[in-house]
Symmetry: C2
Subunit: 389 residues, 2 copies
């Protein structure tokens, strides 16, 4: 009795793994969660109090589908600093950036449409695309991002969407070079291919600011850019945003209204106040320092315990390191062995829409502190050595 | 470049009207907004503070797609009181009940599927169904709800969904009789037709409790029931829910995760605490008293100023009275005349999927206080008399 699209809707293997292991006492490299210990709880508490004091009725009432106007304006100013020519009319406030991806897919994809994606890529975006019947043109990444020759060839065949995470990609941590961004932005416009650029990790940059957004490098009437406050303030508020040319933003806003009317009135005001009070930049600076240190710990521990057993990425930002075992090895098998020793990570197969990647896995480096991270990687190293025998 | 489904996505005529008139100084009967003056601002402020104090990290972190477990449990207990055999596994917490309708449509409707609807019905549900390519089988309502013979005949032809608002229907305010609920619940099961029962106004009952939910009256494996805290706590928190058999709830939860990961962690906890502290029942009692009085004022003013010029419903709950002009009269024309005199209401045509209803309109009776409501209806009466000339 369900719609056909439900044939391609299932639970997320990552979420299933997280649920399965939630009760156990695992050292988990599996989640996509930021460290709750770094949330600015007291500041948000004071702000929530003030917002309800000063503006309680509006903060609890219905609001416009496009978002709380001062927040749209603030996001536009934020995006201008990133190189996007944003006005408030370019901005739609969404229920987290997952909704931005889902709305874009719903607005752009017909059943059977081809989507050019990085291989591997963000699982929950694939799930959204799957639910609208997408087929994939997966192109591998190297150190500078998606392989640009191959991606350019695919663009020339006119797929219906190019989905990319140029900064600190989930799951690989790889950042696309400026030169590739330029080439692909232009190639997409020339081939009239919509672009969906996912920049959820933008501010988690540990070695200097990331390059300019791909959609800022050529004028694409169907260029959509998505971002979120989840990684830099708190995900539980569910406030993200998208940027697109105003005509497209207006259409996505109509879809947003059908979907859930609008993002939370109270939480939008909390996010806006946090930013308006100048709290965002220091929060980002704190997170960068904390997460940079954790990245360095993880990379150091990998060096110490995993050298010669696997290869891994060295991300300049974000939350993830991606590990490749020698071809033929099975990350699922390694996971089973490691779980017996008390650690969890996410096997990479589900990030690969072409079914490859069984020898890869993803490590979250932000959620564990230094001793637990080192301990976990030591266990991983032992597991790898046993697997290699 | 947009997907075909976007051909049937457009802005809401109601929202457009509300935007157009927001700047002017209108007496507005147009909105679907509860009275923000009745929001329990101080209680929610204290609760937000406590939640962030005691449980700040979890309240700001990602959470499960299905919802905050204590809130699922609380909603299950609430629904058992309404006659639904609910456990937490039957409940999915949604970003307002609009999302519950949208998720159900996305899970159940293929392009071209027929949906049995009341004529008129809730506009934003039609918009969600439209976006998934629905066609309609509209059946009129009389004083006891949808015309049951005709609806039964349509059910026998096997439409793909029966969407109904049995309590204080939006836009008519009509409540379906228990007998009709029973007949249609059984008929839907016999014809294997999924039911989507929208009970957003359940607690706004001014003349006794509403009858049992339709989906509780026959065991339908595809029976979905939706509700919300928007009308009884505050809509700006964006917390609603759906009830369905656990197997279907699990599938809808997968879809929910794709859509926006989960409803707000902070706002779910605020709603839960509000309920757990015993604040919900007194809040409902206060709203009932306030809105009952306003309904009575509006009905009295209509009696005084509109008798002989139009007919209208006498709702036992909810937020709306529905007015029918003599056939041939145009509510759009009346609206233009009335707007010049400073009042706004929603013409009924957009609630009618068959294009009828141009002689009807909807009045919200909860947002204006007594003097403004009486003043507005007096203006309406004058407008009607001029139109009748």
């Amino acid at each position: 009795m369900l719609a056909r699209r439900m044939e391609r809707v299932s639970s997320s293997p990552i979420m299933d793994l997280i649920k399965t292991t939630a009760a156990g006492n695992y050292l988990s490299f599996a989640s996509g969660l930021p460290d709750a210990g770094l949330f600015p709880v007291e500041t948000l508490q004071a702000i929530a109090d003030d917002v309800l004091d000063r503006d309680g009725r509006a903060a609890l009432q219905y609001g416009p589908a496009e978002g709380f106007p001062p927040l749209r304006e603030y996001v536009a100013s934020l995006l201008r600093k990133r190189g996007l020519p944003a006005t408030p009319e370019h901005v739609l406030i969404t229920t987290g950036s997952q909704q931005a991806l889902d709305l874009a897919a719903r607005a752009l994809l017909n059943d059977g449409d081809r989507v050019l994606v990085e291989n591997p890529t963000y699982l929950a975006a694939l799930q959204a695309f799957d639910s609208f019947g997408a087929r994939y043109e997966p192109v591998p990444l190297d150190r500078e991002g998606i392989e640009v020759e191959r991606a350019g060839e695919v663009l020339q065949t006119g797929p219906h969407l190019f989905y990319t995470l140029p900064n600190f990609q989930n799951p690989t941590g790889i950042t696309m070079s400026t030169e590739r961004r330029e080439r692909l932005a232009v190639a997409a416009v020339n081939a009239r291919v919509p672009v969906l650029e996912d920049d959820a990790y933008h501010d988690l940059a540990y070695d200097g600011e990331p390059p300019r957004p791909l959609v800022s490098l050529a004028e694409n009437p169907f260029g959509v850019y998505t971002g979120t406050f989840s990684k830099v303030i708190a995900p539980g508020l569910r406030i993200g945003y998208l940027y697109a040319p105003p005509a497209l933003t207006a259409r996505l806003g109509q879809l947003k209204q059908i979907t859930d009317l609008h993002a939370g009135s109270l939480t939008q005001r909390i996010v806006f106040e946090f930013c308006a009070r100048g709290q965002l930049e220091p929060a980002i600076a704190r997170l960068r320092d904390a997460y940079r240190a954790r990245r360095d710990v993880l990379l150091d521990a990998l060096e110490q315990h995993v050298t010669g057993l696997a290869e891994w990425t060295r991300p300049r930002g974000g939350m993830f390191v991606f590990v490749r075992l020698p071809a033929g090895r099975d990350a699922g098998e390694l996971l089973r062995a490691c779980m017996e020793q008390g650690i969890v990570f996410v096997p990479g197969a589900s990030f690969h829409p072409d079914g490859s990647g069984t020898h890869t896995f993803r490590l979250n480096f932000v959620s564990l502190d230094e001793p637990r991270s080192r301990q976990g990687i030591e266990i991983l190293g032992r597991g790898l050595r046993e697997l290699a025998r």
